[in-house]
Every structure is written in structure tokens, then in C-alpha cells.
């Protein structure tokens, strides 16, 4: 199980522009970190950096897992449950096909219970092109759940969701933290958890 994620003097640049510099934080198991900042402050870049898509300009990211500290980006990627601002759904595939594909890809299992949990049980056989923006987001949440990863990186987790959906996200996040997972979320709204926040 994951113990903590630490950033040491992290710096990131996109093109010629330096987004942040000397960033330090530590998130322990069971904690959530809300990343706040104006548009273009580098919230998404920070998430992509943690996921290992981007390489930091300088500084280190360290994950401690099972008494071993590791700063390898590839290894860290294997812990990440990703909810990007894009939903990553194919219009031609049905809701159930979509979820089964990602579950098998992540060597996990997708049950009907997960769709029930996010409120999409009735849409299981519907091609994704007929889903509304909020329903697509709910399916992306279901996918995050079946990935069974300890380190959740969420980009605007409340976007496009109705009040019920936002409650669902808050509930899922609280449950994930309760099980000893870590959440790092880029957001403009309060997460509804007793979380730390990081201003970019």
C-alpha cells in the first residue's frame, strides 16, 4: 500500500514559460490535496507531471510504497487512477463495452454494481454518443473506480455534473481516502473533504 507522495523543489515549464518553481508538498495515505489556481496556472501540468507524462524541469517526486521510496516516473504511473478533463470515450462503443475494455486493460473486473453506483445501470447498452456530458463524466468515474489504483489524479472532478453527481464524487473521494488512498485534485470548488490545499 502507498504511504506518501512527496514533491521536492518541483519546477515545471511549458515552452518558454515557467509555470511553477520550488514546489514542495507531501500527501500521506488517506489524505487529499486540492490544487487551486487561476486558469493557466499549471494545475493540469502538475497532474500530468505526477502521472509521469511530463518530465519536471528540476526537482523530484517520490512515492513511498511498501517501505520503498521510488522516484521512477514509469513505476509511479502504475499507481495512478486518472480522471482527465477529457472523458476518453468512444462514441461507437456502448457504456458496458467501454467499461469492460478499460477493466480488462487494467487487469481488473467491471461489475454491473459499478454502473449502478454511478447511476448508469439503465444506460449499459447505450452507445456513448447518446450520453450527455454529465453521464459521460459518470462513466469516467466508473472507469476510475474499476482501475483500482491508490493514487487518484483528478482534473476538475465536479465539471459537468449535477448536484447528485457532485455528491457522488464527494462520497467516492471520501471512501477512497478512507481506504488509505491518495487524492490530488485540480479544482476551483471545495472538495468537501478535510483536505490540504495547494495554491499555484
Amino acid at each position: 500500500m502507498i504511504t506518501f507522495l512527496t514533491a521536492e523543489k518541483l519546477a515545471c515549464a511549458r515552452g518558454e514559460r515557467r509555470l511553477f518553481d520550488g514546489l514542495n508538498f507531501r500527501v500521506k495515505a488517506g489524505q487529499a490535496l486540492a490544487v487551486e489556481g487561476a486558469n493557466g496556472a499549471g494545475k493540469t501540468s502538475l497532474l500530468r507531471l505526477i502521472a509521469g507524462f511530463l518530465a519536471p524541469l528540476s526537482g523530484r517526486l517520490i512515492v513511498k510504497i511498501a517501505d520503498k521510496e521510488d522516484d521512477d516516473a514509469e513505476e509511479r504511473g502504475k499507481l495512478v487512477g486518472w480522471l482527465g478533463h477529457q472523458d476518453g470515450l468512444k462514441p461507437q462503443l456502448t457504456v458496458a463495452e467501454q467499461l469492460d475494455f478499460f477493466a480488462s486493460l487494467y487487469r481488473s473486473k467491471a461489475g454491473a454494481a459499478v454502473l449502478e453506483q454511478v447511476g448508469l445501470a439503465r444506460q449499459a447498452d447505450l452507445p456513448c454518443r447518446y450520453l450527455s456530458a454529465g453521464q459521460r463524466r459518470r462513466l469516467a468515474l466508473a472507469r476510475l473506480l474499476v482501475s483500482r489504483r491508490p493514487l487518484w489524479l483528478l482534473d476538475e472532478p465536479f465539471a459537468a455534473l449535477d448536484v447528485n453527481g457532485q455528491g457522488l464524487v464527494a462520497h467516492l473521494m471520501a471512501h477512497h481516502c478512507g481506504e488509505g488512498g491518495i487524492i490530488i485534485a485540480a479544482t476551483h470548488e471545495p472538495l468537501g473533504l478535510s483536505n490540504e490545499s495547494l495554491k499555484l
Binding site: H85, L89, L105
Partner: protein, 222 residues
């Protein structure tokens, strides 16, 4: 099912469903192969002579139609991020995508080619060589195409640059593939060309997933 097989299956399914590229490539190939005899006219000896080259070029161009979307569809809608974070290494992801592209374009094109060879009055043995050369050569088209597709991944109109990158690299495939057919027409043994084609194809399929994965990694960080 293994993650590799599930990705292969999903990409083949996407290519076969509406909006997919399999039917498009096949009809394009059939149309090109029909138009050329109409343009050249009823000179049967000439038609048989050019058949190998025309069908090979037609097959490469048809495969090219869907190559630019190989990674781009997944890149644009964010699926590629999720696939990259899965336990499947990007090298195997690339290989699965190459295999899916071949299954949905290269293989159907090969199966259709004997029928189209009739339009060119290609004799039986030469048709056999055409079929076999397409069967072993089209995987190289998908594999080398994957390198081009991964390089042009983040370009908005990458499909326009893609042919400029990969067509020169594909010239050995066309030379040996069409060469095997014309050698047979001349009463020579075409197997030498087929062996070279097989070697090229084997190397391309083996090595290009590494190149494609490296370039996808670069683009995910952009």
C-alpha cells in the same frame, strides 16, 4: 483476456463499426484497381505487366487513408493517457495497434487482391505471388505507418504530412512486392524477392513498435 488482446480487439471493433476505416480502405482499393484498367484501355498484355505495381501502390495508398488516425483518435479524446497508464507497455500498445490496423486494412486488401487481379488479366501463378507478397508485405506498411502516425500525433493536420514521412520508407516494400509479380511474369523465380520482402517486413514489425512508443511518449508530454 490479456490487456494486449483486449486492446487489439477493441481497435479492430472500432475500425469495423460505423465511422471506422476498414470499409473505406477496401472500397478505395477496389475503386483505384477498377479505374486503372479503364484508363489504360483493353491492352491485356500491358495490363498484366503493370498489375503488380498498380495493385501494390493502390494497397499502400489505401492503408495510408486510415493510418493517421492510428493513435490520434485516442490522443484527442484522452484515451491514450489512460492506455499509457495501464499495465500494458507502450511498445505493446503500439504493436497491438499495428496488428489491429493490419487486420482491418492489410488483410482485407490482400484477400480482395486476387479478384482485382482478374481486371488486369494477371495469370494464375503471378496472382499467387501478388497474394503472398501482399500478405507478407502489408504488415510492414502498418508497422512503418505507425512510426509516422506517432510522429504526427499532435499535429492538427498530421494526415497531410504523414505520406511524406512514410512513403519513402515504404519503397522497398513496393519494389520487392511488385518485383516478385513481374519476375513471375517473365518466367523467373519470384521467391527471392519474396524472401527479401519477408525479411524487411519482419524487421519493420519487430522494430517499429519501439520507435512508435518513444514518439508517443514524447507527444504525451507535449
Amino acid at each position: 483476456m490479456s490487456p494486449f488482446a483486449i486492446l487489439l480487439l477493441r481497435d479492430t471493433k472500432l475500425a469495423a463499426r460505423s465511422g471506422g476505416s476498414a470499409a473505406l480502405a477496401l472500397s478505395f482499393f477496389a475503386l483505384v484497381a477498377t479505374l486503372v484498367p479503364l484508363g489504360i484501355g483493353p491492352d491485356l498484355r500491358l495490363l498484366a505487366r503493370v498489375a503488380g505495381g498498380v495493385l501494390w501502390v493502390g494497397a499502400v495508398l489505401s492503408a495510408l487513408l486510415s493510418l493517421d488516425r492510428l493513435f490520434q483518435g485516442d490522443f484527442e479524446d484522452g484515451s491514450l493517457d489512460l492506455i499509457a497508464l495501464s499495465p500494458l507497455p507502450l511498445e505493446l500498445t503500439s504493436l497491438a495497434k499495428i496488428a489491429a490496423h493490419w487486420l482491418s486494412t492489410g488483410l482485407p486488401l490482400t484477400l480482395l487482391s486476387p479478384l482485382l487481379a482478374l481486371l488486369f488479366n494477371l495469370p494464375g501463378p503471378a496472382t499467387g505471388f501478388l497474394f503472398v507478397s501482399l500478405l507478407i508485405g502489408t504488415p510492414a506498411v502498418s508497422a512503418i505507418g505507425a512510426i509516422g502516425a506517432s510522429l504526427t500525433l499532435s499535429l492538427k493536420r498530421g494526415g497531410l504530412i504523414l505520406p511524406l514521412i512514410i512513403l519513402p520508407l515504404l519503397s522497398p516494400v513496393v519494389i520487392f512486392g511488385a518485383g516478385a509479380v513481374s519476375a513471375t511474369l517473365d518466367g523467373l523465380d519470384g521467391t527471392g524477392a519474396l524472401e527479401l520482402l519477408a525479411a524487411f517486413s519482419f524487421a519493420a514489425v519487430l522494430l517499429s513498435p519501439f520507435a512508435a512508443a518513444a514518439s508517443v511518449r514524447l507527444n504525451l508530454g507535449s
